[in-house]
């Protein structure tokens, strides 16, 4: 069954991605990474097309898509707020930041707001431990984060 959301997926960029890789199983993860980057998630029609193009079963592609953390089967938000939960950030209070962000955004970690504006994520260390606790908003690193600082960041990306 195809829903309207799936119909809306434009598969033209996918064909460009497929053309850039050799069509062998070994390329699958790299193809999926490019798809994830392009669409910000892995749309089902794209996964089906990838499986057919590479010549593997759909279940194989689905296994990869669910095994690796880098992939998301749900559309992600326009803005991505990632709280680092590496050990150094953890001992400097990062879990409080996650709870605070969850309360402020009204979603749990790894969820996206209904208006697709914000996705809240956690990551197990980005290697910037000197700056812990660390929050990454849309790719920009914000170190020595406080609850008040996080409020400010989140206010800045309100729709």
């Amino acid at each position: 069954m195809t829903t309207t959301a799936q119909l809306a997926v434009d598969l033209a960029p996918l064909e460009r991605i497929l053309a850039a890789h050799s069509r062998e199983q070994r390329s699958l993860i790299m193809i999926l990474q490019d798809v994830q980057q392009e669409y910000r998630y892995l749309p089902r029609p794209a996964l089906e097309r990838v499986a057919d193009a590479v010549g593997v079963s759909r279940s194989h592609v689905f296994q990869l898509a669910t095994f690796y953390r880098a992939f998301s089967l749900k559309p992600r938000g326009k803005h991505i707020c990632t709280v680092c939960l590496g050990t150094a950030c953890h001992v400097r209070g990062a879990p409080r930041l996650v709870e605070h962000a969850e309360r402020k955004a009204g979603i749990k970690a790894s969820e996206t707001t209904a208006d697709l504006n914000l996705t809240l994520e956690t990551v197990n260390c980005v290697g910037a431990c000197a700056l812990g606790p660390l929050v990454i908003l849309d790719g920009d690193y914000h170190g020595n984060m406080t609850l008040a600082g996080l409020d400010k960041l989140l206010k800045g990306v309100k729709p």
């Binding site: 990869l64 050990t87 953890h90 812990g132």
Partner: protein, 630 residues
């Protein structure tokens, strides 16, 4: 390619021409662009410097260099001004004009940007005057702060690819393996397996179609470790050169292609390595007929998918093959049957980076640094240097490279500058989720593979997380077990189910629901998970639990008997109260998500313990330190 170097001599001549063109006295401003400094605005600083140079028309007189990580992340953004070597810290775009005018043009240091030792109060003029650097031995990181990682010319000018030329120009593969074996180099990914032994096994493994694979493991997944990242970003050619030498020594007449597997969370490392490969191919240092010697080798880069378990060799190989990253039992070792069931030699990128150094220095000089005697037994000691990521509650956070065998005390206190905020050292965690927590009594232990293992921890990739009396050791054990519950690949039962049960037991402790029998269960379950898991992820998973139970059992007992968290970390056991410092500013009243605070303007507020969810927001927002926690 017109530029391709077609002989060993041509590389030497190319280097000579590069060096001749460079004036060592020409002023240069080096900006650290490691992750820490970039997060503090190093790229904006670099832009501001370039803009200033352009505006003043100084383009010919001065070079602005953007480097890899200098290591002293705590004080970023870092700047070094050459030729004097003046070291500046916490530099902002506003300081750019002064740097150009006073240092570059007038040759004078700027006092306000210098590092002042917090204890001695002395000013450090050059990098080597800073306590953080003084006690290090920077072999691998030496050029991180001096070369532009996007320039192969920079690398060649400081002697890069000289080791490769020496190997291809006059050493037999067997000699290279013997050299690496004599050097005592052991795997830097954590296992500490002697590299020379592994290489020989792979070289001697029968390869029906002549194919043997070489893999560089850059899937640095340990939380709190970022040395591989800094090497890949700061000096990618060093890793590449090591891998080419390894490929020559191990030999793959069939299909001379190697892989480097880089963590998905490190986009800059991917970019820098990809560029390095391209540059090396153009110069004839990678690909067909390297330096005209008839030796072929090329490399492909694979981005990881963000799975911790893929740092394990067989899981990593499954991932390269396009499968989910699940390890397999290693009855047959990967040196015999690894990637595609062919002989495969996998080493960590830091291990590979050591190889050119060994060729340049010679095995004896390399082995002279470190502990033990490796001349007869490659397991007899730990040689060379090791990079550690010194993080947590320590004053000088950053990347530290020291000879093997330095004590924890030297690393944490002499280099790390001791504990933050004058608090008390409690423990240091080494080896990531597979390692253990070592107490104060271990501080004088030499840090090498064997001592750490004997103390119930491990080297791991070199993460070193310092904890003070404000860190709860039960919470740390719970943190690592929860981390591994999420990262377990799910293939074998002891790891998949055992860790979940261990997590339940630890949650019971931190939430005050445990009895002393819980600890017995935890210990026996730990043993099962350790003994019965398929791969190292599960086998070492109990280490954080067992080591904290061994050294910090009183903390577990406080949670169980007194329902109290001595470090005031475990939320469920905390009580928040407002003291007389409260001025009734209403901030906590407004912020409390549980509406547990009552009070009026300018009157002492009160927390209702029945409604309080122990979230700690009131304490975090209070500017007057009026919220107590017990």
């Amino acid at each position: 390619m017109t530029r391709a170097l077609t002989s060993v001599q041509a590389l030497g001549a190319f280097r000579d021409s590069l060096v001749a063109r460079r004036d060592p006295q020409k002023p240069a401003v080096s900006v650290c662009a490691g992750t820490g400094c970039v997060a503090c605005g190093a790229l904006k600083l670099g832009d501001a410097l370039r803009q200033e140079v352009d505006q003043r028309g100084l383009g010919d007189k001065l070079e602005v260099r953007i480097n890899g990580c200098h290591g002293f992340c705590e004080r970023g953004p870092l700047v070094v001004c050459h030729p004097q070597g003046y070291f500046y810290q916490r530099v902002q775009p506003a300081d750019v004009a002064d740097i150009i005018e006073q240092t570059v043009l007038a040759g004078k240091p700027i006092e306000r940007l210098q590092y002042v030792d917090p204890v001695a109060g002395t000013r450090a003029v050059r990098q080597e005057d800073v306590g953080f650097y003084k006690h290090q031995l920077r072999w691998l990181l030496e050029y991180n702060g001096r070369i532009d990682p996007t320039s192969i010319e920079d690398y060649i000018a400081v002697g890069g690819y000289r080791a490769l030329a020496g190997v291809l120009g006059g050493m037999r593969p067997e000699d290279v393996i013997a050299l690496v074996r004599q050097s005592g180099l052991r795997g830097r990914g954590g296992g500490g397996y002697p590299a020379g032994v592994k290489w020989a096994q792979c070289r001697n493994a029968p390869a029906a179609d002549g194919v043997r694979y070489i893999i560089g493991n850059g899937d640095e997944g340990d939380p709190g470790a970022f040395m591989d990242r800094s090497l890949m970003e700061g000096n990618p050619h060093l890793i590449l050169e090591g891998m080419i030498i390894g490929a020559y020594a191990i030999g793959s007449p069939g299909n001379p292609v190697g892989y480097i597997y880089v963590r998905n969370e490190y986009p800059l490392a991917v970019e820098r390595l990809t560029l390095a490969f391209q540059q090396a191919r153009e110069l004839g240092l990678l690909g067909r007929n390297i330096l005209g010697t008839g030796f072929d080798f090329d490399i492909r880069l694979n981005r990881g998918g963000g799975a911790f378990v893929c740092g394990e060799s067989t899981a990593l190989m499954a991932s390269i093959e396009g499968f989910a990253g699940q390890p397999r039992a290693k009855y047959v070792h990967t040196v015999e049957r690894g990637l595609d069931n062919k002989p495969t030699n996998l080493n960590n990128v830091e291990t590979w980076a050591n190889v050119p150094l060994i060729v340049e220095k010679g095995a004896a000089a390399y082995a002279a640094v470190g502990t033990g005697d490796v001349s007869k037994d490659p397991w007899g000691g730990s040689t060379g240097t090791k990079i550690f990521a010194l993080v947590g509650k320590v004053n000088n956070t950053g990347l530290v490279e020291v000879p093997m065998g330095r004590t924890l005390r030297q690393i944490i206190f002499d280099i790390g500058g001791g504990i933050r905020d004058g608090r008390k050292f409690k423990a240091v965690q080494t080896g990531g989720p597979s390692g253990g927590c070592l107490p104060e009594s271990s501080l004088d232990m030499p840090v090498d593979f064997d001592h750490l293992a004997a103390a119930g921890s491990m080297m791991g990739s070199g993460g070193m997380i310092v904890m003070d009396d404000g860190t709860c050791m039960v919470d740390v054990a719970r943190y690592f077990v929860d981390f591994l519950v999420e990262e377990s690949c799910g293939k074998c039962v002891p790891c998949r189910e055992g860790l979940i049960q261990m997590s339940h037991l630890l949650h019971a402790v931190v939430e005050g629901r445990a009895t002393e029998a819980t600890l017995t269960q935890l210990e026996s379950l730990s043993e099962v998970v350790r003994d019965a898991s398929l791969c190292a992820l599960g086998q070492t998973a109990p280490n954080p639990v067992l080591s904290t139970l061994l050294h910090f059992k009183d903390e577990y007992l406080a949670h169980i008997r007194e329902k109290r968290c001595p470090a005031a970390v475990c939320q469920a056991l905390l009580t928040f109260t407002i003291n007389e410092k409260c001025t009734g500013c209403m901030v906590c009243f407004k912020e409390c998500p549980a509406k547990a605070i009552t009070g009026e303007k300018k009157k002492l507020h009160v927390i209702d313990p029945a409604k309080c969810t122990h979230c700690g927001v009131c304490r975090a927002v209070c500017k007057l330190d009026a919220v107590d926690v017990r």
